[in-house]
Homo-oligomer: 339 residues x 2
Amino acid sequence: MPQNQIFLQACRGERPARTPIWVMRQAGRYLPEYRAVRSKVSFETMCRTPELCAEVTLQPIDRYGFDAAILFSDILVVFDAIGVPVAFNPAPQVATPVRTAAELEALRWGRAVDHLGYVFDAVRACKQALADRVPLIGFCGAPMTTASYMIEGGGSREFEHTKAMAFCEPALFGRMLERITTLLIEYLGQQVAAGADALQIFESWGAAFAPQDYRVHVLPHLQRLLREVAPLGVPVILFVRGNASLLRQTKDLGADVIGIDWSIELDEAIATVGRERVVQGNMDPLTLLGPPELIEQTAKRIVEQGRAARAHIFNLGHGISRHTDPAMVQHLVDAVRSA
Amino acid sequence: MPQNQIFLQACRGERPARTPIWVMRQAGRYLPEYRAVRSKVSFETMCRTPELCAEVTLQPIDRYGFDAAILFSDILVVFDAIGVPVAFNPAPQVATPVRTAAELEALRWGRAVDHLGYVFDAVRACKQALADRVPLIGFCGAPMTTASYMIEGGGSREFEHTKAMAFCEPALFGRMLERITTLLIEYLGQQVAAGADALQIFESWGAAFAPQDYRVHVLPHLQRLLREVAPLGVPVILFVRGNASLLRQTKDLGADVIGIDWSIELDEAIATVGRERVVQGNMDPLTLLGPPELIEQTAKRIVEQGRAARAHIFNLGHGISRHTDPAMVQHLVDAVRSA
């Protein structure tokens, strides 16, 4: 039972004494102590070495006293489970994209999570290193976001292969998302079994689809994922980039906490999801490139707006930029703490 | 006076007998006849050769009978006016980014549009070649979108230099947008003087800023541009990518037509801007990678939704993809015509 409970309290809708804060990608390249570790080993090796995962997961907790830790890993490590090689250069690259039924069925779907023992070991290593200071968040990519990397062969601007598959071969696209969703359900279950105190699902590329296409091709799978992880008994945060377009569709899928990106003002987001909901977000990460006064003023505005919700977890509206000065993150934490 | 008036009728809010259609980037790489021209000369040479501009501008008119032509050019040719070299490889690259007051003031701001005679010659060449078949749309980038290329040195994912300037040196950022806006006002004026029948302003990167930052740092300049081009007496279309976040801010700046991107359903967009407004849009361009039935069904749904507005100009919600099969565009045109 973590000593610092305010993040979990907020997740449960109990309004804690102060607004909890953590930031997406908090264990990342903006921190010199992270770069020191990373300079010695590859990103892949870091992900696969539980001790290193624990070391960098704790770095921002030690430095800033964030109210939650998030497992250092990557949404694409699940591809290891099904035998889809992925390289990080540093952008993820999948040398053999999966675009046909034969390619999909040839993957290693049986007992797939058995190949991800290093992730669950990393969860255990983090929990041990944290020694109950703060809760640990496990995570995965949402079904469509995960699938898009397999289909495109990496990141994409237009998602032309993903959308062509959804539009021309909807049954194949649906089958792929169904298989991935099943894998993700097991994957999150094992993270919780290993000790994760909460889960976040990242739909980083939700806005790839127009709202009506998202509803038809993507939403049912995301809904199933949320329904089937609910019985795990830990809070689930759903973060969909593209909130301004997709919030109304994704707000009622069963997530305990609705992550808000920075494309929408927090008070408008709260009005959209309903004041009875718990929200997380949503400062533009690049605000941290501005002067301390701007950071302070923006943080305080967001904390104020967040008071309209049932509970609010302060976060950025996307991962922190590697160009961020760590001193500015301290300003942010101080501003949220004193708001 | 163009023989086909339905596009201009819709711009004026008179509902024409059928829904007019043109598509953004209609003179582009998806057309084999475009690639035939482009294979012989560089993109820069095409932009600077009025006869070639006219040739490719008319290609989609000849092939599909679109209800409006749009000048073949690029939003970044305005950099020629102020002595900022830009290369297209094919992504635009600005070798000497402009990030300081000294760099900004050193540019060639006096009589800048005198250096853009080739654009106005291209407008005249297009008008002559069109021989009053359909109206010709001139265009420019919006102040922030234009500035972002100068500041970043090209396209960007995060716009970190642009936002750092706005946040850390708001006066410099404001001065840059003010200077660019003045240039754009002259530039659009000369396009109209040369014969453009309508204008479109492209805010391609509107969503780079969070809504509250857009309001503070960007909106006043866009508003001034629209106010000062209104007396030119031709319809003005404002297309802001990021509609789902920015539509409420940009709907009342004085544009005759509100361009809608594909991040929002058209009926929701019409409800947001008001049914008394004229809208243009908004099919996801990648729908054209789908089968003919999907294209037809989507086009008809959008035409139906558009009937709720005062008038509706059918368009894509972003530029057409170069991966598009030209036959699918014919399906689209047929579907809109018969809807």
